[in-house]
């Protein structure tokens, strides 16, 4: 009846009916109004259906949730193929009964024009009584590893939990529980800055979304050193804004646990072991003739120098400098560097011994003793 109030006389006979959809629950359509569409959306192949004489379609913005009153509002457009310029808009109210996932469903429709009734199906979004968790992220059981002094991209795997409806990730941001640990955190699409992208029905994507982490090494070092019994050093909350047809944009926050690797004392241990390995190599190649006392002295010197270099390197990086060897920038906070330092210092056992001797004979270390010996004299 309402339709008759709004339609011009020549269009008053046209009617559109949508049948209910049965899924895990039920979704009912109630036709509310019909009027002449002044600015209909362009016809599209995705949300459309056709009978012999009529096209029926909907624009992607023509469905909206009305949370205030627990229904969904639809606008569908019908045009006669014979006179496509004249478009009639039909407003429907959609209500769900029962809980089911939001989905695209084939909805049977009837175009009624006087005595003529034509029937076909149109694919429309329908919605469950309870809004779904639309995007999830399977995070590894262990925290993601991040090097203490190196930029790192952590992939954020995401899954569209809707098996029959695409979701658009329209926005992304990331915030740390401890902002002092990081330079500004970026969310990226691979290596490029973030841009909205579509996640198809039920699809998973483990590689597109990444957070780019660049630690502030001094804070990270302190946090990692005094981690205690916690299995992570920080939580980065990645907030994605997700949009599906008909629903409001919805933020989904994914907590990403990270830990700094390796644990700093481990590095010193690795340097220590590296120095022993280097010393063994030295024994095989050169130090066979030395007495065991001398050999152990060389070992001790190698270990001491290795540890000194490693700690000095760490201090340099913490002081925002770089540790360079032959034009190669070395990160003393990584295990290979720590091992390399140890091995080299071990191999250069004689040099290490001489270096320690020269250090011990430096004026700064002889100052107190020198005065004392003068007094004795």
């Amino acid at each position: 009846m309402i339709a008759l109030l709004w339609l011009p006389p020549d269009a008053a006979a046209l009617d559109l009916q949508l049948e209910s959809v049965l899924t895990a629950g039920r979704f009912d359509f109630t036709r509310k109004t019909a009027d002449v569409a002044d600015a209909p959306p362009p016809f599209n192949n995705r949300l459309s259906g056709s009978t012999e004489h009529y096209d029926v379609w909907m624009g992607p913005d023509d469905v909206a949730e009305v949370p205030l009153l627990h229904f969904f509002s639809y606008s569908l457009y019908v045009r006669s193929k014979a006179s496509p310029a004249q478009v009639t808009r039909f407003a429907f109210q959609g209500r769900s009964i029962g809980a089911f996932d939001d989905q695209m469903a084939d909805v049977r429709f009837h175009v009624i024009d006087g005595a003529l009734t034509e029937t076909d199906t149109i694919t429309l979004p329908i919605f469950g009584f309870v809004p779904d968790v639309i995007v999830s992220s399977h995070q590894p059981e262990d925290a993601n590893d991040v090097f203490l002094a190196t930029e790192h991209d952590v992939p954020i795997p995401i899954t569209n939990e809707l098996k029959n409806m695409a979701v658009t990730i329209t926005g992304a941001s990331a915030a740390s529980n401890d902002a002092a640990l990081w330079k500004p955190i970026e969310v990226r699409n691979g290596v490029a800055p973030f841009a909205p992208f579509l996640l198809r029905s039920g699809a998973s994507d483990a590689s597109t979304l990444k957070i780019h982490l660049d630690p502030r090494t001094s804070h990270a070092f302190g946090t990692a050193l005094f981690r205690g019994r916690a299995k992570f050093d920080d939580i980065i909350n990645v907030t994605l804004t997700c949009k599906t047809l008909g629903r409001d944009q919805k933020p989904v926050t994914i907590p990403v646990r990270v830990q700094f690797v390796p644990w700093p004392p481990i590095l010193l241990m690795i340097t220590f072991i590296g120095a022993i390995v280097g010393w063994l190599l030295l024994l095989l190649a050169k130090a066979k003739r030395e007495s065991w006392t001398e050999r152990l002295r060389i070992l001790g010197s190698g270990i001491a120098v290795a540890l000194l270099i490693e700690v000095f390197g760490m201090a340099m990086v913490l002081g925002k400098s770089e540790l360079k060897v032959l034009d190669f920038t070395l990160d003393p906070f990584q295990m290979p560097t720590a091992a390399l330092v140890g091995v080299l210092a071990g191999i250069a056992g004689y040099k290490s011994r001489d270096l320690l001797l020269s250090i011990s004979q430096m004026e700064i270390f002889r100052l107190g003793g020198g005065k004392k010996s003068d007094a004795t004299a």
Partner: protein, 271 residues
């Protein structure tokens, strides 16, 4: 683990505060008010896991909000919550399972709240100053589609209620509980009703028809209220103190204030 954060404010229901300022309800993000200097201030910062479907001012800066929390696995939690002036929930009245509170209006004289139930199509009455009060059924309308908005017509001692699904407006006597169908043909989808008892007028937001109807409270003859703006999805109405009409448009996410004499746009608020 998934956490939900806040998004932008989307006004749905509207009401005019005793101070004359406009209050706006966002079903998820809380309540905000528009001060006389046009500043938007949040009064209630979000409803947590609940979503709101209606609200009314108690009279002293406090609000009553109808709320629900839906679960896939169990019954929906429905309650009427009272929020104090600092925006904290001070009391609540839980509705027994099976219903779904929609609209709410408060009679400031008797300190009684009237709520519609869109699931059972009942109208409830609740003494708002009694935290232990229970919902008393004013009437049930089994033949209705889905009851939604509710307004108070104090001079005629009646409630005006919209049936959102069937497109009808009914009145329910506050004393005699008599039900009268006022309109079942004109309005297609009545989502908001604003009664201006001072000027004997009523305004009804017809969402799917994208228009506002106005009429006379005593004679009840509705006619289109033509406004200067093209409306996308009018969802909320409130009568301003000066007699002008506030209209929340859910599609455009704006609130308009119209001159009720000629439909001229007096103000546009974009929260």
């Amino acid at each position: 683990m998934l956490l939900v954060a806040q998004l932008r404010f989307q006004p749905a229901a509207l009401t005019t505060l005793a101070s004359g300022e406009l209050a706006m309800l966002d079903t998820r993000n809380g309540v905000a008010k528009l001060s006389s200097s046009n500043a938007v201030t949040h009064l209630i910062n979000g409803f947590g896991a609940y979503s709101a479907s209606g609200f009314a001012e108690v009279g002293n800066g406090e609000f009553l909000v109808t709320q629900e929390m839906r679960f896939k696995s169990s019954a929906t939690l429905i309650r009427l919550a009272r929020f104090n002036t600092s925006g904290s929930r001070s009391s609540e009245w839980v509705l027994p399972p099976g219903g779904a509170l929609a609209g709410i209006v408060v009679d400031p004289v008797t300190r009684t709240a009237y709520c519609t139930d869109s699931q059972t199509n009942a109208v409830y009455r609740l003494a708002i100053d009694n935290p232990k009060a229970t919902y008393a059924v004013v009437t049930r309308m089994p033949e209705a589609g889905n009851l939604g908005p509710i307004a108070l017509d104090v001079p005629r001692r009646r409630l005006l209620i919209g049936d959102v699904q069937k497109g009808a407006i009914v009145s329910v006597g506050m004393d005699d509980r008599k039900i009268i169908t006022l309109d079942a043909r004109t309005v297609a989808e009545p989502v908001a009703i604003a009664a201006d008892t001072k000027n004997d007028r009523v305004f009804i937001a017809d969402a799917s028809a994208r228009r506002i109807w106005c009429g006379n409270l005593s004679k009840w003859k509705l006619q289109p209220f033509n406004v200067a703006q093209k409306l996308g999805f009018p969802i909320g109405l409130a009568i301003a103190r000066d007699g002008s009409l506030w209209v929340a448009d859910a599609k455009q996410n704006v609130v308009y204030r119209f001159d009720t004499r000629d439909g001229r746009t007096l103000q546009i608020v974009k929260p």
